[in-house]
């Protein structure tokens, strides 16, 4: 009986140590160091420009699930849906020499990239879809990034639990050839549940990085002062990892 109590005690100690690890300062530092090792390992093994796998039309899932916000309920967004997003603007601002305000027609007039990729949700499911839009690199080239710019923030029209959705990536992902500002899914205008009229595709990371209902792209030197400073809505709210490549 005593031995069993000892084993149960060791077990309880172990699990509570693990739970407490993430609450402590040192634990937090260790966990974010591990996140960094994964990012570095991925980029070391594949190179910074490694491409996400692309698939054939036959691989496309019959329906592309929407997750998170699937129907933003602000009056402005509802009005934008009503008039077919005719007045939607995408601002490009922050540490750029040439701030932009692009209409959907401007975006469609840029050279387009179409890619059939797999979308992986942090919860575990995946879906395959065909996305079309200009590369973010082209948009940033027009806006002319300042040398201090290190991160790109995506601002969104939707709010979850009262807070605006946003996301951020570093320049390795921002300038990556498969990172596109998508306005079409499977050959049709982006449905509302998947982020109409514009959403990001950041193909080497999990779904929450792919900001939907995109209103502005902002170049910054650091993530402090935006939201709660962790680089994204779910990073701030639930502590999801900023590098979502794992």
């Amino acid at each position: 009986m005593r031995r069993r109590a000892v084993i149960a005690g060791i077990g309880a100690l172990f699990t509570s140590a693990c739970s407490r690890l993430s609450d402590s300062k040192a634990g937090e530092a260790l966990l974010s160091a591990a996140e960094d090792w994964h990012r570095k390992a991925h980029r070391l093994l594949g190179g910074r420009g490694a491409l996400a796998r692309e698939f054939d039309r036959a691989d496309i899932s019959p329906f592309f699930r929407g997750n998170g916000s699937t129907d933003p309920d602000s009056a402005e967004y509802k009005a934008a849906v009503q008039n077919g997003f005719a007045d939607w603007r995408l601002a490009v601002r922050g540490l750029v020499n040439n701030p932009l305000s692009l209409s959907l027609a401007d975006i469609a007039a840029l050279p387009q990239r179409t890619q059939i990729t797999r979308h992986d949700c942090v919860e575990g499911w995946s879906a395959i879809g065909e996305w079309t839009g200009p590369q973010l690199a082209l948009v940033l080239e027009q806006a002319r990034l300042k040398p201090e710019a290190r991160f790109i923030i995506f601002h969104c029209a939707d709010r979850l639990a009262g807070k605006p959705y946003y996301e951020s990536i570093d320049l390795a992902d921002a300038l990556h050839p498969q990172t596109i500002v998508a306005h079409r899914l499977n050959g049709e205008a982006l449905p509302v549940r998947n982020g109409a009229p514009l959403r990001m595709r950041v193909e080497r990371q999990l779904g929450y990085k792919h900001a939907k209902y995109l209103t502005a792209i902002e170049a910054v030197a650091k993530l402090d002062g935006i939201g709660q400073g962790k680089g994204g809505y779910w990073e701030d709210r639930s502590g999801y990892q900023w590098y979502a490549g794992i």
Binding site: F14, E35, H42, A52, R53, S126, Q205
Partner: protein, 220 residues
């Protein structure tokens, strides 16, 4: 000469801690989406080949549903687990532990020999003749060390989108990301099954001495 040298003893207990933490945080992750699919994609109930039960708090780390914390811990422990296994294999190959104690000979694969081993086990007779481990033990240790544990690393990496772009062939080997996730889940339970049998046999074969030897080394 000790029965177990110091490095394997250290590795054994480090590995136990890592695998336990990985398994229990993995069950928390599983609670986030309790369906498994085959192939590259899947999200709807009609795509699933398996509906997984919700694992209660006492089986998971943290003890309540927290996907972010569970993933943090899981991908942190993946490092000591994978590096530890790599070193353990390198050492076993170099120092002959693998050839001497784990590699089986063709003679041991003869049905009569296997049958004798099974009968001996069923009679709870754990005396070993000549070599350190008998055939079933070699088979079990070889399968866990050589197949199941490495499979956890390979499928874990295949699930990760960043790794998938670095090494696309990895998820192709497993017939897609969702198949890799399914295999990751099933193999986790296979390791748990080994763990249960392993503990049972240790308990049946003189637990005090076995555990003391695995901590202190023991006499050869």
């Amino acid at each position: 000469m000790k029965r177990h040298a110091l490095p394997p003893r250290l590795w054994h207990w480090l590995n136990l801690a890592c695998v336990t933490g990985l398994f229990m945080s993995g069950l928390n992750i599983s609670n986030a989406h309790r369906r498994l699919y085959w192939g590259e994609w899947g999200f709807a109930p009609e795509d699933a080949w398996l509906f997984v039960p919700r694992f209660p708090g006492w089986m998971t780390i943290p003890g309540h549903y927290d996907l972010a914390a569970a993933r943090d811990l899981h991908v942190l422990l993946a490092w000591p687990f994978a590096i530890g296994l790599l070193f353990a294999w390198a050492a076993m190959m170099l120092n002959g532990h693998f050839r001497r104690d784990i590699m089986t000979s063709t003679a041991e694969w003869r049905p009569a020999a296997i049958w004798r081993d099974i009968v001996q086990h069923l009679k709870l007779d754990f005396t070993h003749h000549g070599s350190k481990y008998n055939f079933l033990q070699k088979l079990a240790y070889g399968t866990v060390l050589g197949i199941l544990l490495p499979l956890m690393i390979a499928t874990g990496m295949a699930i990760s989108p960043g790794m998938d772009s670095a090494w696309p062939w990895l998820s192709e080997i497993f017939a897609g990301r969702q198949s890799a996730r399914s295999i990751h889940f099933l193999t986790a339970w296979a390791i748990f099954a080994f763990f249960v049998i392993h503990i049972a046999l240790v308990l049946l074969s003189g637990p005090v001495r076995q555990i003391r030897d695995m901590i202190c080394g023991g006499e050869a």
